[in-house]
């Protein structure tokens, strides 16, 4: 699946997007966050426990218990500041 990062998370992780193949026991957004943290220091920092960020699965805001079944694109981002 494709994972995308926005705003400061993109800078901290070091890439705007990446293609990943998580293991089968990665079933939810929370599982994916925990797995991504192990990829690099930047990932660990951007996705740290307690950091204020949200997620979207296939372009829809998704709570962390959302299952990843069939998901093509998961995005992580800080709180929105538009308007």
């Amino acid at each position: 699946m494709k994972v995308r990062y926005f705003a400061w998370m993109k800078r901290t992780v070091g890439v705007a997007e990446e293609q990943v193949e998580p293991p089968a026991d990665v079933r939810t957004v929370a599982d994916l966050v925990a797995w991504l943290r192990t990829r690099s220091g930047g990932h660990a920092e951007a996705l740290a426990e307690g950091a204020a960020f949200g997620a979207a699965v296939d372009h829809r805001t998704a709570p962390f218990d959302t299952p990843l079944t069939g998901a093509e694109e998961v995005a992580f981002f800080p709180p929105f500041t538009g308007g």
Binding site: F6, A52, A56, H59, A75, P78, F80, T81, G82, G83
Partner: protein, 156 residues
Amino acid sequence: MAVRVQEADFDVGAEVEALTGGNKRIGGLTLFVGLVREMHVREGLHRERIDALTLEHYPGMTEKALEEIEAEAHRRWPLEATLIVHRHGRLAAGDRIVLVAVGSPHREAAFEACAFLVDWLKTKAPFWKLEDTPAGEKWVGAHEGDDAAAKRWEKS
């Protein structure tokens, strides 16, 4: 109903004309135009003025999120016409950043739905402001008041 995300500026008069033209059921039209405000940041002992910012968004999700917010407004109020235009990219202080326009047979619905749309788009549409400060780039933090404003429209 229409939603647009664009880099270009918009002409408020032309947008209103296109939105309401020929629709004689509209008795009240409300508009919100958001502008880039000149801001100041504290850098140690100094206060620095910020003259520009860059708005990043999530193409694909942004349009969908705005359409859902717009559809929710139509479920809650009897509306004849709605328009959301949100800019992205680099913007200078004084520039127009967002337009929300709502036409309804009656003013109460137009006022309320317009406030609802602005409050919800601030907290539910994927935009992020990046300020250009003399010390470098700085991502704008979310504003607690915006969350409170958005929450007042949540149904219990």
